[in-house]
Amino acid sequence: MTTAPYQRGVAAPDPHPWRMRGRRAFVDRLATVAVYLAFVIALVPLVAVVWYTVGRGMARFGSNFLTHSMAGVGPLDRNGGAYHAILGTVEQVLLASAISVPLGLLASIYLNEYGGHKMTTIVRLLVDVMTGIPSIVAGLFVFAFWVLALHKGFSGFAGAMALAVLMLPVVVRTSEEMLRLVPDAFREAAYALGIPKWRTILSIVLPTASTGITTGVMLAVARVTGETAPLLLTVFGSQYINGNPFRGAQSGLPLLIFQQASSAYPAAIDRAWAAAFTLILIVVALYVGARLLTRRDALNRR
């Protein structure tokens, strides 16, 4: 092929005829920059919170902090720890999960696998309303009903009930979504083998959705682990170790953070940061643990 002479009015042959150029190239670059920028902006608060909490928390965090309670510790003392609060938080969250996870899972199974149109609409509406309950209201409800009216007094269990009220709608809605993602083909394959419906749900549908359900449960747990307001009214808080969640006031990490951070003294402020750091660690550990638990099966077989 001979090279044509460049003529007036005829554009020079472009060596890259498919290159993006002009307005489109500009908009493309702009959008790319905007997306990356948005990502960085979204990361800033996350990184800042973790960074700051770790930095301030390390001043007091350590084995001494994890193994001692606040019994007999004054605001000016440098010692004292979060053992009683960790114990309380773990017990309260476990109890709350023990109440809300089976209940929520059963509700989601009903909604997705059994319910008629009318009933599911009502249940879904109620669950959505429940999602909007402010945490202090859940605390007030348990306070009025359990602590006062039934004379049960403050306890870790009372707090667990308030937390369960907050967890329940999250568990129901996420589990329902995850169950809906399981293709009907698997249900029909099971029915065609003569497997009863309950067995199909238990052995085919739930295992298929288990990873998503676990994530939903963990989100719910993470949400309530840091709740403070309902615990003030139900668990009350304590400086002493109380291993029995069914009797007497307990502590909890959010309560400890709240109490210590309200103090004017640097030693107490340090304890609050260390407790906050502990709280983050617990949530991360729970999350990672749950993910490993659900993935172990799949990995073993691969």
Partner: protein, 257 residues
């Protein structure tokens, strides 16, 4: 073992919509019966009514009778769960259970249908041999079923279906998602399975229908939204050489959809 299916005046509905109207046919034991016809003509719905899977869809119902060896499967004394153990099904898309291993998939029917867990090794091996899959998977029975290829998955689904030893095997376009080699493997398999089972297969592939079946039923619908009807039901050789109805001829010669 293999059972005769007699369908008398069967109509299938999805809510107000009628998908199949007044179908009657006699399906003999130990034969392969092919159902052909354009999309949406109710072949699959008809097939799903033979193991009462049709009614799993909300609002779905049927009229008429389906007799399995003279016993009405829609009788009030029939438990659809028990019925489906006698009438197995293979679906269009391979659908092995994703959380289970190859072995567990084949054993699923027996294990989850309430039978006490005796040793299932022999049953699983027999089913996999029967589905021509044993040699390919015998060394990796504990591996997840979804790691298999599409054709292998479909043969796994056939193994899963025959492991519960049904009397009838329904196949809903079992090869339409597979390549020609896998299709051939499954067609060979069908020729073997019909010694023990009554097989009903829905297919869009007319060569397949003429290759594998003794009897052929042609379904069609008058217009979109109209229920599908059975136009012709006869020996496969007759349907494909000298069909009685003009519409059957038009369809199998490719003149009209």
């Amino acid at each position: 073992m293999a059972k005769r299916i007699e369908v008398i005046g069967l109509s299938c509905f999805y809510g107000q919509h009628q998908a199949v109207a007044d179908v009657s046919m006699m399906i003999e034991p130990k034969t392969v019966t092919a159902l052909i016809g354009p999309s949406g003509c109710g072949k699959s719905t008809f097939l799903r009514s033979l193991n009462r899977l049709h009614e799993v869809v909300p609002g779905a119902r049927i009229e008429g009778r389906v007799l399995l060896d003279d016993h009405n499967i829609y009788g009030t004394d029939v438990d659809p769960v028990m019925l489906r153990r006698s009438v197995g099904m293979v679906f269009q898309r391979p659908n092995p259970f994703p959380t289970m291993s190859i072995f567990d998939n084949v054993a699923a029917g027996l294990r989850l249908a309430g039978q006490k867990s005796k040793d299932l090794t022999d049953v699983v091996e027999r089913a996999l041999v029967g589905a021509h899959l044993w040699d390919e998977v015998k060394d990796r029975l504990k591996k997840p079923a979804i790691a298999l290829s599409g054709g292998q998955q479909q043969r796994l689904c056939i193994a899963r279906a025959i492991a519960v030893e049904p009397e009838v095997l329904l196949m809903d376009e079992p090869c339409s998602a597979l390549d020609p080699i896998s299709t051939l493997a499954i067609e060979d398999l069908m020729a073997e399975l019909k010694d023990r089972y009554t097989i009903v297969i829905v297919t869009h592939n007319m060569q397949q229908a003429s290759r594998v079946s003794e009897m052929t039923g042609f379904f069609t619908l008058a217009a979109a939204g109209q229920p599908g009807t059975l136009v012709e039901f006869d020996a496969t050789s007759k349907v494909f050489s000298t069909p009685t109805h003009k519409r059957t001829e038009d369809y199998i010669t490719g003149r009209v959809g």
